[in-house]
């Protein structure tokens, strides 16, 4: 009995550490959504879909919620030990659905900014932030489509899935990192745009008014969320065990399922 306990101890510690990290991931993700929503609601005047700055406000909220928080949470669902004994197809569908929702919010977030720019005669896609953001969104869409083709379509051959899987996993982390860099540059750019001092009757960004401290803190929260998600993804002992994994990783509705 004692021997069994001693043997199980490192594994129990690892599982406990996972759940602490996962709880942190959920809390930080929730805080990111609260902060980005409150920033745009309390300081930027709220939301509308009328071509004004209120329409632009949907852009940061939808990008942070979709491309960072939902995306990050979708990336770590396979790591939850409670799911390892369950049918993998169910968790494949959870993973794909969360990412589909993330993609939908991303597209809506892009529509918000393009439509706002077009309504105000502002050119699109000139800043480095926008170049990075549009490439990240395009890579995400391609990654989702390739993931669907490789891991959910019944006609997908095993050899193709084996070839795609390491690329899919690695690109997933890379797209997530790019999305964080895009968010940081976007928040920074927005604060310089709106906190201009005497030009538009605000306290300048350089004086660190409460809005600047709050939005900078949103940036710090996004970085902290990214740190926790990437740490969970990089921990080998938190990967879904191979045996269970291999058995259940058949394409959805494939000939074996």
């Amino acid at each position: 009995m004692l021997k069994l306990l001693v043997e199980q101890c490192p594994r129990m510690n690892s599982v406990l550490l996972f759940y602490v990290s996962y709880l942190l991931c959920l809390c930080l993700g929730f805080l990111c959504v609260v902060f980005v929503s409150y920033w745009n609601s309390a300081w930027r005047g709220g939301f509308a879909w009328d071509g004004t700055a209120l329409q632009f406000n949907w852009h940061p909220v939808l990008m942070v919620t979709g491309l960072v928080v939902l995306y990050g949470n979708a990336a770590v669902v396979y790591r939850i030990p409670l799911t390892w004994g369950q049918n993998k197809l169910r968790w494949k569908l959870v993973h794909a659905s969360m990412l589909f929702l993330a993609l939908l919010l991303t597209v809506l977030g892009l529509c918000a900014v393009f439509s706002f720019h077009n309504a105000n005669g502002t050119p699109n896609l000139y800043s480095l932030h926008s170049w990075l953001g549009i490439c990240t969104a395009a890579l995400f869409a391609a990654q989702w489509a390739l993931g669907l083709a490789a891991f959910l379509l019944p006609c997908s051959p095993m050899a193709f899935r084996r070839l795609v899987k390491p690329l899919h996993v690695w690109m997933g982390g890379f797209i997530f990192t790019l999305s964080i860099a895009a968010c940081i540059s976007g928040i920074n750019e927005k604060l310089f745009f709106v906190l201009k001092g005497s030009t538009n009757g605000t306290q300048p960004y350089s004086m660190l008014p409460p809005e600047a401290v709050f939005a900078n803190s949103l940036g710090v929260l996004i970085i902290a969320f990214g740190l926790v998600v990437l740490k969970i993804l990089s921990n080998q002992t938190w990967q879904r065990p191979e045996a269970v994994h291999e058995e259940l990783s058949k394409p959805l509705l494939g000939e074996d399922s």
Copy 2:
């Protein structure tokens, strides 16, 4: 003979692929340095250390060269297969020296911007870019000091090194990722500062003048460099083999060396 060739083939392919990636890493790093230097030399008026904007110009050059290019190259030196048969202490010193030089350039780059701000009465550390940048530099300094204490000091116990190594490797990649995010937000911010249109007689950033295309391309090059470095670091087959590695990973001037 044929059997040996067939057995060696995947390994030779892996080594060849490494050198292609490494060559790409060197070329992209070189291009990053050329682009950031040319941008600040041709469009931003060149360099000085006199409290003017010419002093600020050292900031992007030193940060990109130190915190991105030198840092990234230092991170991958252990992966070069040619070094695996050689004494690891030599490569530890190369790794630590390159990172020391990177840290020196980073500190100089920070001095350039702090001194420029102070000379012009501009507050320091208010933007999200500056918060991220200063945290990245502080983490880098802490990482270097901990690396020195754990892997180069003769009194460092083996148990301490074993404990620190995974953290050192993981934090190395994380700091590199943060430094890229800081560079992207910095380039974006700088272009909004200087390409103001009629206010300062330039073509506005939104019209994508040649300087904007060039500096945005620098951002793309930095992302591409980051992609290659992180891909090299994440490939398990390119890690220095454990046996050789363990034998030679004694602290510098330790009782066994």
